[in-house]
């Protein structure tokens, strides 16, 4: 029974000691320790959040870089395609221009040739006419040496006129 009978002295001393401990440890140990631990936790939390934000930012940057790269690649493709098209167009333009020019030149040449030919023909015709006139003159002159022949001729001519 003695064992389970609390003694007053020990109760008093325990109360005193424990209260003292609660007060002293509370003020000089738990308060600074818990405060600092809390602050540290907050700072770790903050650092973690900052790290996460930085990671997200990096990811965003990376994806925007990707985007930029993709756009640039597309741009390049587009420019190249345009250039290719331009080249083809230029070539075909040049080809068509050349061929039309050639056709034009040919046409001109043909025309010129035709003209030359015509001119030459006219010339030849004129020459032939001239020659014919000269020949006829000579023939007439030779024919009309004697008066009879002249007379016969005039007659014939007159006959022709009459007939007409």
């Amino acid at each position: 029974m003695d064992l389970v009978t609390p003694g007053f002295g020990l109760i008093a001393w325990t109360t005193f000691t424990f209260l003292l401990l609660v007060a002293l440890l509370g003020k000089f140990a738990w308060k600074p320790i818990l405060t600092m631990v809390k602050e540290r936790e907050a700072s770790i939390d903050m650092a973690l959040k900052a790290a996460h934000a930085a990671k997200a930012e990096m990811a965003a940057l990376h994806s925007s870089n990707e985007q930029l790269l993709k756009e640039t690649r597309e741009e390049r493709e587009r420019i190249l395609k345009e250039a290719r098209e331009m080249r083809e167009k230029t070539i075909s333009d040049a080809k068509s221009a050349a061929s039309s020019e050639a056709a034009k030149v040919l046409e001109t040449a043909r025309e010129q040739i035709h003209n030359e030919k015509m001119a030459a023909m006219t010339e030849v015709k004129n020459q032939v006419a001239q020659l014919a006139v000269e020949m006829s003159e000579r023939i007439l002159r030779a024919e009309l040496q004697n008066a009879a022949a002249q007379k016969a001729m005039v007659d014939r001519a007159l006959q022709d006129v009459n007939l007409n």
């Binding site: 007053f8 020990l10 001393w13 000691t17 140990a29 600092m36």
Partner: protein
Amino acid sequence: MIKRKLVGLFIAVALFLAPVVGTKAATPDHAAPSEEKADAPFDPTELIMHHVKDSHSWHLFDLNGHAYSVPLPVILWTTHGFVVFSSSEFHHDSEGKVVVQRNGMSFVNHHEKIHFAEEGENHGTLIDVSITKNVASMLFVAVLLLLLFLSTARFYKTKQAIEKAPSGLAGFLEPLILFVRDDIAKVNIPAKQVDRFTPYLLTLFFFIWLNNMLGLIPFFPGGANVTGNIAVTLVLAVFTFLITNVNGTKDYWLHIFWMPGVPIWLRPVLAIVEFIGLFTKPFSLMIRLFANITAGHIIVISLVSLVFVFETVLVSPGSVLLTLFISTLELLVAALQAFVFTMLTALYIGTALESHDDHHEEEIEHAH
């Protein structure tokens, strides 16, 4: 990692204690074996009860039939004021034979209780507030706790503590402090008020644990059965009781005296049960700690006593091995009981602070 370290520490301490407990077996822990009693048959019950109970002097060892102990101050509050003298004036007597005279009063130590020497002598009140073995051990623990945690706190007062991981003593104690804060306080007490109670819970946990641990050391300055004394556990339980009920919310009291959500006729019955529960909770705290620690001490001394009961040294290997086993177990119990006491305290405080808003909403809905 820390847990593994702690287990390692426990094992190391246990191994360190083993030979000590063994040597203890060689010298009986008997406070005052008087000459004529030397041949009397060994009485383990007396030895055990002597150890388990409080004492006015701190017995160290017996040498050549002489008991050596640390004298402690005997402080008595009488009608004629305080009387203070050294416990050595009793000359190791606890049979009420040696009389010490002070201020015209004479005192005897009868089974570690100070009485007036003459029966019926009317000197009025006599209140014993001596620094007994338990008080001295407890004060030693208090000093140890202050040294430990105030030096730990020094690290936390520096600016670098915010960016540096704790090292040394702080590195060892911080996980324990965080364990109490996170796994005892935060899980039981609402987050808004938890900071108010964490310091108390921390003090409680380390006070009980260190006292338990010191009680396991079989030689001076350990070995006192502080937390196995009902007076100590009573005070701790009363503190818990007071803190719980002083902070009780309206809801808490409502749930005790007029339980919502049960039939009206049942409420008075429940009120009686709940009211008794108010006291059984701290009572169970008091008994649990007292019984566990006292039981541990009793087992250890019983095992050591085997050598003297069988009066042969041949029993000692078994005795030492069993003592080692139990001592190791007691190291676990020391931490466990500190944890259980603190955990339940936190739980009780948490219950008292809880507000059952949802219950009331339900009730109102039912009423409509």
